[in-house]
Every structure is written in C-alpha cells, then in structure tokens.
Symmetry: C2
Subunit: 692 residues, 2 copies
Amino acid sequence: GAGADNDLYINQAIVFIEDAIQYRSINHRVDSKSLWLYRWYYSRTCQWILSLTITIILALAFIEKPSSLTVTSDVRYRLPAWNPPCGLTESIELLCFLVFMVDVSVKSYLVGWEEFWKNKWLMAYILTLIVSLTDWIVSLSFLCTENVRIRRILRPFFLLQNSSMMKKTLKSINSTLPEMASVVLLLAVHLSLFTMFAMLLFARTKDGQQDKEWMVYFRNLPDSLTSLLVLLTTANNPDVMIPAYSKNRAYSIFFILFTVLGNLFLMNLLTAIIYNQFRGYLLKSVQSSLFRRRLGIRAAFEVLSSLKEAPANAQQSYVNTGALQQVLQKVEMDSRCKQAIMRSLKMCSCDQLSVAQFQKLFEELDKDAIRQHPPSPDYQSRFMQKIQFAFGHPYFGYLGNVVALANIVSICVVLVMDADKQPSERDDFFLGAINCFFILYYLLEMLLKILAMGLKRYLSYPSNRFDGLLTVILLVLEIATFAVYGFPHPGWRPEFIGLLSLWDMVRLVNMLIVFRFLRIIPNMKFMALVVTTLLDLVKNLRAFAGILVVVFYAFAITGIMLFKGAVISVYIKKVVFSFKGKCGFMDLFGYFQADVTYCLLYLLSLNLICRWAKIYFVAWWLISSVIWVNLFVALLLENFIHKWDRRCHREPLSDVEYQRTVELMFRDVLEEPTEEELMEKLHQHPHLQLCR
Amino acid sequence: GAGADNDLYINQAIVFIEDAIQYRSINHRVDSKSLWLYRWYYSRTCQWILSLTITIILALAFIEKPSSLTVTSDVRYRLPAWNPPCGLTESIELLCFLVFMVDVSVKSYLVGWEEFWKNKWLMAYILTLIVSLTDWIVSLSFLCTENVRIRRILRPFFLLQNSSMMKKTLKSINSTLPEMASVVLLLAVHLSLFTMFAMLLFARTKDGQQDKEWMVYFRNLPDSLTSLLVLLTTANNPDVMIPAYSKNRAYSIFFILFTVLGNLFLMNLLTAIIYNQFRGYLLKSVQSSLFRRRLGIRAAFEVLSSLKEAPANAQQSYVNTGALQQVLQKVEMDSRCKQAIMRSLKMCSCDQLSVAQFQKLFEELDKDAIRQHPPSPDYQSRFMQKIQFAFGHPYFGYLGNVVALANIVSICVVLVMDADKQPSERDDFFLGAINCFFILYYLLEMLLKILAMGLKRYLSYPSNRFDGLLTVILLVLEIATFAVYGFPHPGWRPEFIGLLSLWDMVRLVNMLIVFRFLRIIPNMKFMALVVTTLLDLVKNLRAFAGILVVVFYAFAITGIMLFKGAVISVYIKKVVFSFKGKCGFMDLFGYFQADVTYCLLYLLSLNLICRWAKIYFVAWWLISSVIWVNLFVALLLENFIHKWDRRCHREPLSDVEYQRTVELMFRDVLEEPTEEELMEKLHQHPHLQLCR
C-alpha cells in the first residue's frame, strides 16, 4: 500500500543520508529488509565486533608457537616462551573465521548478485576464507605439528579488505608500480655493471698482501653484489673502500661514482617519480569522497520527492519539510550537525524544498566544526577580577614555561654532575628537594589558572588538559614517594622499599617533567605549524600505515617460517647487521634475537638458507625502506606544501579553534559534481528504480 | 662630431647585443673607451685567464705543505709528500693576486662609482684581497713557518664571486635559511629532550652486569648526545639499542620513537621545506635571464634609433637596416644564429625596422638549435643499396646490442668460474679468444655502419661516436696485446712483459667492453628519459656544485689546520667512522688517512681537540649531507616533474635532435616583459642617457 511505500522511501532516505555522512557508496539493495540489514551491518556494534575479530586474529601471532615474546631477547637469560596447547589458538581462529563468513555473506547479499561478480575484493575474500579453512583443517588433522601454515600469511588480508581507504591507496600504489619497476630495473643495471667493474678492478693478485679488498668484499659474484648493494644502503660506506683506498687513493673514484650515481641520482629519482604520481592522490581521493556525499544527498532527495504526500509537480520535484524532519530524527549523525540542520529547516519556514534548498541544508556537514571555548567566570569582587586578569593573562603561561625550562635545566645539571658517580655515592636530596618545589609550583599554577578561567574553560584547551593531567600524576607520585621514603634531607639515601626504589621514582618524576615541557609547543609559531602538519599527516597516513602493517605482518610470518630457531637467527643477525639502519624495525616482533655468540656463523655461511635470507632482506629493504619511505616523503611534501600555502591566507581567530579534516583542507580547490553527473550515476544504480 | 657619435652608438649597440646573448646586465659605462675595455674584459682570452687563475689558486692546496697527496693512504707504505721550498707557492699566489687586483679594478671601473658602493660583492672582493695580501706578507716574513693561514680559507671566495649563477643560487639558499634554521632548531630540541630521557632511562644501576647500555652509549651528556646524533644519521642503528634490547624488549620503543620522529618526520620535513622554497627557483632565474636578454636588445634598438642617419619621426622610432647589418657583422655570436638573423633581415626587404620587427629578428636567439643529420650517401649499384638498407636499418643496431650483451655475459661467466682460482692457475686463453672474436665483430659493425651511413652521418650521432671511439681503443689494445704476448692458445699464460701484464691488459679490455655496453641506453625509452633528465640536472646543478666545492674547500682547509699530523688523524678516523656513510667524501683530499693503529685513541679521547672534531664533523654532516642533499632532491624533483609533464606533449621527430637548454625548457610558462618594464629599466640606467 501507499503507507508501506512511504515507510520504505523514508527508510531509503535515512540510509542514503547516512551513506553521505560516512562517504559510503549507495550501490546496495534498497528493499525494506535489506535496508534493515544494511543499517544493522554498519551499526557501531557490528563494525566494532568486526574490528575486534581482525585484531584478535592478527594478535594470535604473538602467542602462537614459534613466537618469542619474552621480556629479554638475550637467549642466555630468557625463559622458554609460553606454549599454548594444541587447539586453543585454533579454536579462536575458527571463531574468527565464522565472523568473517557472516561478514562476507552479508556484504555479498547487500551488493547484490550482479555486483558481486564484478567485485574482485569480495571474490578474493571468499577465496582467502576457503584457503584458510582448508589449512586449518589440515593443521588440526596433523595435531598442530605441521610447519607450513599458509593461513597465517593470508591473515593481513582481512585487515586490508575491511578498509576502503586502504583499498583505494593500494590501487594508487598499484598504478605507480610500472614507473617504480623501471627505476628498480635501472638500479639493477647500475648494480650489475658496477659489480662487473668491481670484480675486474679488485681481482685476486699474485701478492697475497695486496688483495685485502678482494678477500673481504669481492671474492665472488654474490659477495660483490652484496657488497655493492649494501653500499647502496650506505651501511658499509667507508669500510668497503678502505682496503682499496689504502693501496691507491684513485680507487675511491670507483666508489664515489657508484654512490653518486646510485644513491644521489637513482634513489632520489625514485622519490621524484613517486611524488609525481602521488601529487594529485590526496585531492583525487577527497574529490571522490565529495562525489559520494553529494550523490547520497541527491538520492535521498529523489526518494523523498517520490513520496505520495508530495503534490505532483510536472516541472520540478519538491520534498515535504515534514518528511525530511521525520527522516532527520532517525538519522544517526553528529548531534551538532543535526541541530544546525534542524534549525535552518525551521528558519526556512517553507513547506516544500527544492533540490538546491535541500542540498544547501546538508552543506552544514562540510563546514568546519567551530568550537567556542566556554566563557570565564564573572567575579563580582574587584580583588577576584584582578586575580582573574593576572592569572588569565598569557604572560602567566609564559612564566610557567620559563619555570618548566628552569626545571629541565636543573635536572640536566644534576644528571651531568651525577654522570660518573657510583649509585651508592649518589645523593638524592638535591633533586628531591628541587623537584618538590617545582611540582608545588605546577600545582599552584594549575589551581590559579582554574580559578581565573573556570574549570570548564580550563579543560577546553588541549594544552591545559595535557598540563593538568601530568601535574596531577606528578603530585600523586611525589606524595607516594614522601609517604614511603619520608621527606628529603641531606644524605637522603633510603633503602629499597615497596614497588619501586626511590631512584626509580625520582627518574620517573624527571621523565614526566621532561615530557611536560612539550607544553611549550603551541607557543612557538613554527613548531605549532610543524606539529599540526605532522598530526594531519598521521591522519592521512592511516591507510599507508595499514598497508605497511599488512606487508610487515606477511614478512614477519614468512621470516618465522623460513628461519626459525636460534641457531639460524645468528646468521640472520649478521645479515640484519649488514643492512643495519634499514632493517632495524624487523626485530620488532622479536623473531630475530640479539644473540651473543657468533661462533656458528661460519658453519652456516655456505648454507642454502643464507641465500634465502639475503633475498628476503633485500626484498624487505626495497619495500620498507625504499618504496615506503618514498611514499611517506611524497605524502609529506603534498601535505606540507598545501598547509604552507594556506598558512598565509588565514589568520588565526582568537578563541576559536578549527577542527580541520582532510576534506576541509582542500575545499577551495574541490569541484562540485554537476547535476548531470549525479543523475547519470543515480540512474546507473543497480537496485533503485527512480520514477522519472 | 656626428660621425664619432655614430661610431659610439654602433659600439654601444654591439655591446648591448652581446650582453643580451650572454644574459649579462647592461648597467655598465657606455663611453667609447669603457666599451673597448668592456669588450676586452669579456673577451674569451681574458675570461679564460681569469678562470685559469682561479683554478691555479685553488689547486695550490694539493702541493702546499700539510698536503698528503700520495698514491697510497696507508701511513706504513707511503713516501713523504713533496715539500715545495718556501717562496714557490707564495710567488704563484702573488701572481694570482695581481690578476685578481686587475680584475677587481676593471670591474669596479666598469660599473661606475655610484654602483660600486651599492655592490656588496665587489666590496667583499676587495676586502678579501686586502686580507689575503696581508696574510701573505705575514707568511713571508715568518719564512713560511706560521701555522694559521687565513688566506687559504678565503680562496674559494674567488671562485664564488666570478659566477653570477652561483651568486644567485647563494641568494636563494640564503632566503631559505630562516625556515631551515627553524627545522634545525626543532631537531635540536628533539635531540636534547630525547638525550635527557635516555640518560634517565639508561642510568647506572647497582648491578654492574646490567648497565652495558650506560657504559657504552650513555655514560655522560656528550656521549649520550653523540649516540643519539649518530642514530639520527642511522649509522649506529641497531647497535645502539642492542644492549638495552637484550635486557628488555620494551626499550626498543624509545629508539623507534626517536628514529620515527627524528628521521622520518623532521628530516623529511626539511626536504619538504627546501623543496617548497625552491619550487619556483629555476623558473624565476630563467625569467630574470629572459628579462636581461630583452633589455639588452631593447637598449640596442634605442641607441641605434638615435643614429643621426635615421629620419626624425615624431611618433615612432625606427632603426636603419644598414646600421643593424653593420652592428651584426661586428657582434660575436653563434654563427648559425648570425646567419639566420642576416637571412631574415634580407628577406624583410624594408629599409626601416620598428621595435617589434627588431625584437622579432632576435627571437632567433631563443629558438631550439635544430640539428639535421647529414644525409646518407647515394649509392648507384643495386648491391650497395641493399647493403645500405641492411646495415642502416635499426635492427642491425639491435643486433649489435645483443652481441654486446653476449660479450658481457661471457665475461661474467669467466669471472664467476675464475673467482676462486689462484692467479697462477688462471688460463687466459678462453677470455682472450672470445674477446678477440667480439672485438672483430665490433670493428666490422663500425665499418659496415660507416659504409651504410657515410662517415659524416655516422659521426653526427653521439651514440655512434661513443661506440666508435671505444671500438678503436679496444682494437689498439688488442693489437698491442698480440704484439707483445702473441696470439692466444690453450695454456696461454705468458710472463710479465712491458708496461702492463697480460692479465691487466685483459682486465682493461673487459672493463672497456662493459663500459661500451652503455650504448644500449638510447634504445630504452625510460632509460633515455632518465639519462636526459640527469644530464639536464647536471647542467642546472653547476651552480650548486660550485657552492659545494666552495664549502668543501673551506672545510678541508679548516680540517687541515685543526687536525694536522697522523696521530690526531687516528681520532678523526674514529669520528669519521661514527658518522660513516655520511662523511665518506671528506676523505677525498686525503687529509684524513686510513690508519691502521688505534692504540693512541684512548689517550686522546679526553683531549680538547676531540670536541672540536665532533663539532666540525657535525657541521659538515649538517651542511653536506642534510642541507645539500635536500637541495639536490628539491632540484631533481623540480626538473623531473617539468620533464615528465612535457614528455606527453611532444613526440620525438625522427632525424631531428633538439639541443634543449634550461631556458627553452620553460619557454611555455615564461612571461614576456612588458614595454613599460623595459623602458623603466632603461631609464634607470646609470650611464646611458636616452634622447627621449
């Protein structure tokens, strides 16, 4: 009937508006039941459960068998890692797989059969699940004794497919690959030509004394390649040329040529290429988000305008204000935005909304969230007003910075004086006393500021929150210290009592004081700019970081499978060292232990595994250090240049804080989608039949 | 009289046109004698003498006293360097100073008295000369025994002041300094805060076994600062965290945080800032060159139009064609351009030239030099025509590339097989025989190509010149080998005869063959693009390279003065090693010897000189590695992105080669100066009084 139809239209409008708010695609089923399922799937609880499941399945690696998550990494002291019984991690995995199966079925159902076949990500998702389940069954049937577990390498895929940002980024990276491959090919040519030169130049001579260079670095083809590849990472820079250089200074020309061509030209060319490819990346992605938002709003308008209540108007379609209010009440969105839209709807005071009016209403979504700080309290007495003026003044804040600096300097002086003292000679009185004084000052500063600004206004500034929190923690620590060890006095060197020794307490307090000193950042203009750029960058980098996590996880798991056990890790360690500075992060998971004995090294150095290790580390270096770092530089350049250009345009308004999002940063350059584009896209919708 | 006036005007026009061609400023004296002096000063001979003088005075450092320019850098084997007698280098220096004095006087006279006082470079030039001469007198009066020679540090100034490009670049760098200083300040804050954290975190504990980290890296404030500074260069990346990491894995968080913030964020921020500042640099500099050119042409027009012969025309000024021809004949310029201008002047067939016509004539100067390759010879016989078709075809070139590749592969195979053989076991027959065959093929290829293309056309391609030259050298080497050692046969292992052993000859031949393989570059599209970008970059980088040479020279001389003698160089070596990968180039001049004994190290480690060495190397690292490399990256990005954007626009025309200069690269975006700007600038000329 008409009522059921109307309910359906209202529900469609609600979902479309929610899609617009979240920048989601509107290409999903739009019948009543599917809409309910859709809203349920994108509800906070469901998405939270999905994220939790992904986190759990990724975190399993930390407790699964070849893990070595122990406090120390020194094999001499470390206790054997906890070994979960067979079936424990496997049952957790099964639960996760069940959740993923529900996820993939709901997703597939919602996009519809036709779309499903076009969606490669969904197909890959199903395939990954099938492979993982098969591997899981194999694993259980071997009672967890089998070595190769493919499903572990596949795990990061679940993280990847759940984020549309990451999928988009991956597509961008993919389109840059041909150019990157060309430069990598060039690098390979460069490397191989220079390797041949090196082998001819540093050949074995009849005088055994003279061929040190040959012995150590250019003994055979793989050694020469490795030496020069490592030189490309600058890890062995002067060492590799020292023997030849001692023989004849002219040999240095070879190494300088290699470094200048390889490191200075080719490596930076990679940066240039990646930057060139990514220059428009942010803008393009923001532009497509904007299109999705406008499309969602427009779709909502179209379905609302086909409501039966609306008067049939041949020329133009209109939306009833009442229907829109009904929709708005049910839409889940930021309460500030909702109120603003409701308010302008009431102010409009018309009964019907045209397309333009409708879209104008929702422009509130694109606006900066302007946050007004609460006002200071109004004191009646003159004395209080004077106090308020004095301690609410910026100069009081500067004084606080100066005191914090003095505190840092005093800690520094004590550290320098105590540097070479034995722990038993150390006298904690001086530091205890001055810290006590400074912490009292910090407390006073906080209280006076609260008095002057009022608690609400005080807390509305992030710098004050940071400040206040640290001051409270410092105070608690100090009180705890005095409660356990008594007040400081000359020769104050109490024995160890309680959880932490006095020395540890004092160190902790000092570290917190150093950390608190960061409050000066907003006071320095350039620093503030840099810090906000970095924070923006972190926001934009989430997708990149996610992809890095995916790559890293896959590498780490492959690493465990390839080189498990402590004996081999000794060799790995040597390889890691030869790539040092570039592979430091590989150790994060603790798979490659910092070992103390190198004695088994030479036994292994001709092993097959070593070659695998080399290839593995070269791949890791290329991906993490060369490509990822360059992507990072490209994004940083992009972000920073936008920010820098913008800095001149706008002056900071006092007392008003802008919460800028990426979308807002580009607002001036974004193009609004045209009427035709929107309507064409709407008519292509696979499930929505528009009346006209 | 009028004739003398006319002569003066003609001379002025000649000089102005030459200024325009060379992009020189026209703000110099314009009376007859000054013009003669000006043309003499900017004549090739004079400028060549000046360049030679600068080269000589800079090169003096290689033979002056604390130099160590010997073949080996090993102190055990090296002979004492040649010590020039007192007075030899000093008299060469005096001659150079005399040339510089003439240079500065001519320059000062030519710009005129008023301009002289505004020109800071000229003042600095005179000051430098005075200081250098004073130092020279002091040096002679001490009979060359004094240690501190200020004039040596001042020498690179002579290089700097002679190049207008370098002066312009220096100005650009100067304007970027405030932003760079901000980031360096941020880095310093980052470093000092983390140093304090580290000193608190890795403090000395009561258990001597546990504080390895403290012992080695964080013993006191200077040690901690150095450790973290070196970590910022990634030279000690995993080492510095291993002791702490073995104790507790969580300590790695500190090092990762430090590296991510410092290396990934702050260092790349520096790149972003420098790139942002230099984005418009190239364009701006080309734009100002264009302005100078247009101004010179316009000035020539103005003086020519005030010739007495020309009819007085109230509305518009005209230039007589005859006068222009007279001027053109005396102007020194590229003969191709001159002919083109003369030709269009004749084709114009009018008696008078307006401003627009005059300027249009000289647009020939801005045009690409299009080089047509000479035609292939026309053979009459059908057989020769077939041969010409076959060997002039690109496929014949590809075949040559394939053969060169086969040669490389064969050398590679022999190298791998011979890698572990003793020199006495080595059989040179195989390599000798195949190289002989390949070189014969190369000779044949060259001859056939010359036959097909004719010698002139063959030589007009740079790739053929490269190819032919190497083939001839290879042939000569091979003939010499056979002449001395006879033809190769199995077991061909002759003893050492003549200048080079057979083994060295074979190695040299192989190296040349590897080098010859580079001829494939123009055949690969992407490689060709990269190589042309790099060549362009090298052209644009001359000014930067010059500034680097200046900085490097000053650093090297300061280095000699601060740390001369082998004993101290041992310590320097240690510092160099701690900055390894970043300071490798410091050794170029050979001042810091690769030493073998480290025994004196600890005696010196508390010396005052060590601190100086640290500061010296940190400064060097900041300037050479951080700032210069970032400038380089900025320029590379700028160049590459321009080139890349342009690549799509134009298709390569067959048989036509463009000789692109920087000026031409930007032609599409350059703005022509307006009439008003030109005339305003002309009226500001300090020496030229225009009639109207």
